[in-house]
Subunit: 479 residues, 2 copies
Amino acid sequence: MNHRMVWRTLARTLLIEAALMVLPLCIALYHGESWRGFVCTIVLLVAAFFLLQGFKPRNSDIYAKEGFLIVALSWITLSAFGALPFVIDGAIPSYIDAFFETVSGFTTTGATILTDVEAVGYGLLFWRSFMHWIGGMGVLVFMLAVLPLAEERSMHIMRAEVPGPVVGKLVPRVRNSAMILYVIYLVLTIAEIVFLLCGGMPLFDAAVHAFGTAGTGGFSSRNLSVGYYNSAYIDVVIGTFMILFGVNFNLYFFLLLRRFSDVGKNEELRWYLGIIGFSVITIAVCILPTYGTFPHALRYAYFQVASIITTTGYSTANFDLWPEYARSLLVFIMFIGACAGSTGGGIKVSRVIIIAKSSVNEIRRMLNPRSVNLVKVDGNTVNSGTIHGTLIFVLLYFIILLLSVLVVSLDDLDFTTSVTGVIACFSNIGPGLSMVGPMGNFSMFSPFSKVLLSFVMLLGRLEIFPILTLFSPAAWRRN
Amino acid sequence: MNHRMVWRTLARTLLIEAALMVLPLCIALYHGESWRGFVCTIVLLVAAFFLLQGFKPRNSDIYAKEGFLIVALSWITLSAFGALPFVIDGAIPSYIDAFFETVSGFTTTGATILTDVEAVGYGLLFWRSFMHWIGGMGVLVFMLAVLPLAEERSMHIMRAEVPGPVVGKLVPRVRNSAMILYVIYLVLTIAEIVFLLCGGMPLFDAAVHAFGTAGTGGFSSRNLSVGYYNSAYIDVVIGTFMILFGVNFNLYFFLLLRRFSDVGKNEELRWYLGIIGFSVITIAVCILPTYGTFPHALRYAYFQVASIITTTGYSTANFDLWPEYARSLLVFIMFIGACAGSTGGGIKVSRVIIIAKSSVNEIRRMLNPRSVNLVKVDGNTVNSGTIHGTLIFVLLYFIILLLSVLVVSLDDLDFTTSVTGVIACFSNIGPGLSMVGPMGNFSMFSPFSKVLLSFVMLLGRLEIFPILTLFSPAAWRRN
């Protein structure tokens, strides 16, 4: 393990965080709010940068395990510093609460411990949502885009941070791939801001909700979330952009290159849209008695399904009060999540496809032991290592979920709250059902559970393995 | 597919059911109860036997797919006929309810739709619990023990009916293995009856509870389940026998052969006892405030943990009212279940071991891609096919669970009832939490959900694949 190289890369991400924090600082100054929190944190970040920068690596080799460690440590450290402005300015007095809120921001979960969001200042609200935007595409992918790093090394880092069973480069050079991803991300975000402004939303709110949508985060500047605006136009705009940000970004690149057939034959996209279509229609039918007319029911079903499957977590209705079928289906799609290579969380549609196809093959093999069946996605055979890794990943997902529910249940909240609270954190969604429903929040959990849930969010966003690496003695051993 | 051979084997199992039904018929006659239900059913079974016996197979080949189909069809047909006495004698007027109760009996689930068990006659109560005993070790294993069938053919049937990732024969001949299993099973059952009689339990109750324990079923002759007797002695006896029946029966055979080291080095047994020990102690601490003294708390925790992990489902306390940690831990061990090759259900401890070890290996492989790691259980390397099959099995377990919850949620019962009701059926336990808790029952589900849950119980008992075979076009195709 090349520890010095780990510390050095970590130093860079801290510097980037300091730079990014200038933006909310300006907004705080513009609105005449306290600047102390941001300035103190920026100073501390720069100090930490110089401290860690002092480690001179003997060589700059980075392998898979260094990649995992860098990503895991960066995300924890960024959250640890990112929480400071909330505490220093007194918006969130408890550091554990602020840490939870910050991890929830970076991991694009959007679960909050705030009971009154509208009481928080502009600067901090902006920072809270801006973290969604940074965390959505990835801090380290951003670093790779702006700071030069050798080719092979970057790939190990990118693989550890970008979600999905297989991470492909768009172009031969990792740095260019990272840049392209961020440009597409930025353009889509600006497009959404423009659409929201056209709907009469103030600029600040439009930025906050565009960040929340782009990162599939879900923090709002309103206590009633998107429901505050009570506008069909805004519901459709945000709903549609959520679905767009849940798509694999590689497909947008293919669109730019006019490789339409690559987009058309993409199985993950078809499954993703199919699941959304099925869910929207059946939920609309299910909630019809509540909303009177079908178009009305469709509007709420569309928004909520888009919000949950993309793991964003905005709400326009209190779906906790919907009939049990609608609630269960929303929990079901919480597990599935968005497409690989998007900003969404969850298990990811592509993994669901691999599991479904492997299961069918296994049944065929049991009926006819001599048959040879390959798993094919988009016409290509998936290699057995990827299949095995995918199966283990999803099993670990369920195991970590069950163990976390067990630990959280020590708080003695009801079964639905414990279970859906953990799922909502693990799949980076935000709201669950019961006490953590769309009208609830996470403030009643014990400090211990809040720390645990913070790690559960990180496990979800970084897809388990980087965080587990932290607990592996092998990762800490010197070479 | 050799369909004629399938029908012929099915015919034999129906004849065995007719023979087994003579026992409850005698009990009904002895107590002066209606004999009509049993006699009519026996006549129908014998008629069906002669009808199916008419198919003369051209050859007697049986392969894996025939084995699956025989097992799946036998269990469904046995349940379809087994339900008749309840309907004919009027104890359960609705056929769907009776079918649910019968499937629950054979699959050793013990979930009931009866609101007043004590109002049912002796003959039917005996039949209900006797089904547990037959289903626990397996109807077809019984058939293999009593009726001659060619060696290779028997193995395909045994493999399809006996739970666990790997089915081993105890002795070279399948028939002798089946006989040994049934003799051990019978001796342990009689031992339990004797112990219960010593505790002052009436003979009928002792037989009913011994059958329920042996098959890890959970049907009781009392509305309050084992809690009715309110005796520490009976709690300890039944609790301990539940744990014994949750152990792989091969180990008892090893004990008879004095191969103590084979028992000692058995990892599954150690994990199983370890999980029980951990659960009993932490739950006892958790429920201490409810029960006052530690020995008292320990007694209830011991019984309930033994009952749930072995998937029996008896209760001595209303654990639905226990603190959330105790409830969650019970749900957690509902998933795990008992040992492979026992009469218990669930995922099975041996599969949990394989998954845990494969996950650790996968993390090692990610950190060090060139490392070679094998999964070893009891000192033997598990082959990759078994590992792959185990991973798929457990994933299918979770997928079927989630899909079933979705369908059951159409009944609009609360989240906890839907989720734990499905788990309790799938793992063949019986009670869950909330409305299906130890003081509740399954009567409020819609007929549609009752049929679905019946299939979920069969999927659980037969370990998914045989039942899925029914839906595979390949299984129905002629050769």
